[in-house]
């Protein structure tokens, strides 16, 4: 029992990490709470749902198309709603604009797919295998592998690809990055694109493992991403991983051992406590603003 819960927790944690990465990157560059993040990923997940259930498309192709569309939507939101606000303005305005963008996407999603829970087709085998006396479902292992390898690919991209490095530099210091010849607008749009894509894949993996997709998962996703990012310390990949994993595992243990209906309240309470005790997150550091 314990082991099963842990395994599911790790799988969910890996998915959360995927969802968190894009969110955390955006935050670290623009200091903008991207409320639309969850709605973008649920959009992609719905797309995938439609492609699979209506058109019986090959799952891999469907995931790819959904991820691309999700990425495009995320960059569209950036260009239309956020770019104008990047210049000096009251921070609250950009936060509320993000909220507005989320609202628009959420309502568009609702028009298309409604607000009921839809049965997401299971794209992975339900088989299990035995290891050291434990029954391990293959689905969870595959999901874990996909999530972890995507995280790895993105990490390598940041570390070795010129544009990956550019993203890191932009998140450190936008003016200096522009002096290096890095096109700031393009880079930021790219961050949104990648973040959206990873989020969509995370959403699809989550939906396929629970065989469900619904509108409400979008907003929940935003909160999850924010929580995980804050717990781990915003702006770092390691932080997203720690935060995502911690959240995934805690949530599952709370759900199983405490109460499933109090799972989310307790998770949120945890967030509040963490913010109170260490406002910069477990891995975050303090920054002192210049006077």
């Amino acid at each position: 029992m314990f082991f099963d819960v842990l395994l599911i927790g790790i799988m969910v944690g890996a998915i959360y990490t995927l969802v968190t990465i894009g969110y955390s990157m955006v935050y670290s560059i623009l200091k903008l709470m991207n409320f639309a993040h969850g709605d973008v990923y649920i959009f992609g997940t719905f797309i995938c749902y439609t492609l699979l259930s209506k058109y019986s498309m090959n799952p891999l192709v469907a995931i790819l198309i959904a991820a691309l569309l999700g990425g495009l939507l995320a960059s569209l939101v950036e260009v239309v709603a956020y770019r104008r606000l990047r210049s000096e303005q009251h921070r609250m305005i950009s936060m509320i604009t993000a909220l507005g963008a989320a609202y628009v996407i959420q309502n568009s999603n609702e028009l298309q797919w409604g607000n009921q829970v839809l049965a997401f087709p299971s794209i992975l085998t339900a088989k299990t295998f035995q290891l050291f006396g434990f029954t391990i479902p293959i689905t969870q292992i595959i999901i874990l592998v996909i999530a972890v390898s995507l995280i790895a690919v993105f990490t390598l991209f940041l570390k070795y690809h010129p544009y990956g490095k550019a993203i890191l530099c932009v998140s450190e210091d936008i003016p200096t990055a522009s002096l290096m010849g890095i096109p700031i607008n393009k880079t930021i749009t790219m961050v949104y694109f990648i973040g959206g894509m990873l989020g969509v894949v995370g959403g699809i993996l989550y939906s396929t493992s629970y065989n469900a997709v619904s509108l409400a998962m979008g907003f929940r996703g935003t909160i999850i991403a924010f929580t995980a990012a804050v717990i781990g310390g915003i702006g770092s990949l390691g932080g997203a991983l720690v935060g995502g994993m911690l959240l995934g595992i805690c949530e599952n243990f709370i759900g199983v051992y405490v109460s499933s209906s109090y799972r989310d309240p307790i998770t949120f309470l945890l967030l509040i406590l963490i913010l109170l005790v260490k406002p910069t997150g477990i891995m975050g550091s303090v920054d002192q603003s210049k006077v």
Partner: protein, 235 residues
């Protein structure tokens, strides 16, 4: 090479430059000196595109620069090594240099250039995998200059390269600047160490409250009373 005519600029409503005229010829090394808050950094930032000018014009090799974004300007051949070094502290020394070469496609030559600067600044070579934030002030300055050179600029702006450095290092940095100029690079040097700056440059502009108040041969300005006044006020 670079011609600036009656440039006006500032931050929001607050004006900092009131009609600056300045010229740099191919291969020249020129100093821009003045007290703190006179507008030196604002001038560099305006030319390199970080601040939009509110009046006047800037031409570089016949092309208008005003209102171009910084990433375009740097690609035309002006590197700006900002005040306070502004290296990417979370990245390795190597990454900082690679980012300096952002947009260059000649991978082999980038490698060669990097090696060149590792040879020039052995301390950077030894620490290429280290996070740049762990370098000392002088090393960070060297890194910032090397990073600025990775673009193979025709003209380089150096903003207060000696700021906050120990005297020994200051001399070293000035030597490096002199050597760079000797390789044919045009240099615009903004400095608070006026005497040293005047010693290594050919011409100099003195800026006060957003206006150029003197300009001429550095050697002549070096012992001028006007400079002392500009810094310490009338006796």
């Amino acid at each position: 090479m670079l011609t600036v005519k009656s440039l006006e600029s500032g931050y929001g409503k607050i004006k900092a430059l009131f009609g600056i005229d300045l010229e740099i010829k191919q291969g020249e090394i020129v100093a821009l000196i003045g007290a703190n808050g006179a507008g030196k950094t604002t001038f560099l930032k305006t030319v390199s595109g970080l601040i939009k000018p509110s009046g006047g014009n800037i031409t570089f090799e016949g092309k208008r620069l005003d209102n171009l974004p910084p990433e375009t300007i740097v690609n035309l051949g002006i590197s700006h090594v900002p005040e306070g070094r502004m290296i990417f502290t979370q990245q390795s020394v190597e990454t900082n240099l690679e980012i300096g070469a952002f947009g260059r496609k000649d991978k082999k030559e980038i490698k060669q250039d990097m090696q060149k600067y590792y040879d020039m600044f052995p301390i950077l070579g030894n620490r290429r995998k280290q996070k740049a934030g762990t370098l000392s002030g002088g090393e960070q300055q060297m890194l910032a200059i090397a990073r600025g050179l990775m673009k193979r600029p025709k003209l380089i702006f150096l903003d207060e390269p000696s700021m906050g450095l120990a005297p020994v290092l200051v001399n070293q940095i000035f030597k490096i600047i002199k050597e760079l100029h000797q390789t044919g690079l045009s240099v615009l040097l903004v400095e608070q160490n006026v005497k040293k700056a005047l010693k290594i440059t050919q011409r100099a502009y003195v800026i006060e409250l957003g206006k150029i108040v003197h300009n001429g041969k550095s050697s002549e300005l070096l012992n001028s009373e006007a400079i002392r006044k500009s810094y310490l006020g009338e006796a």
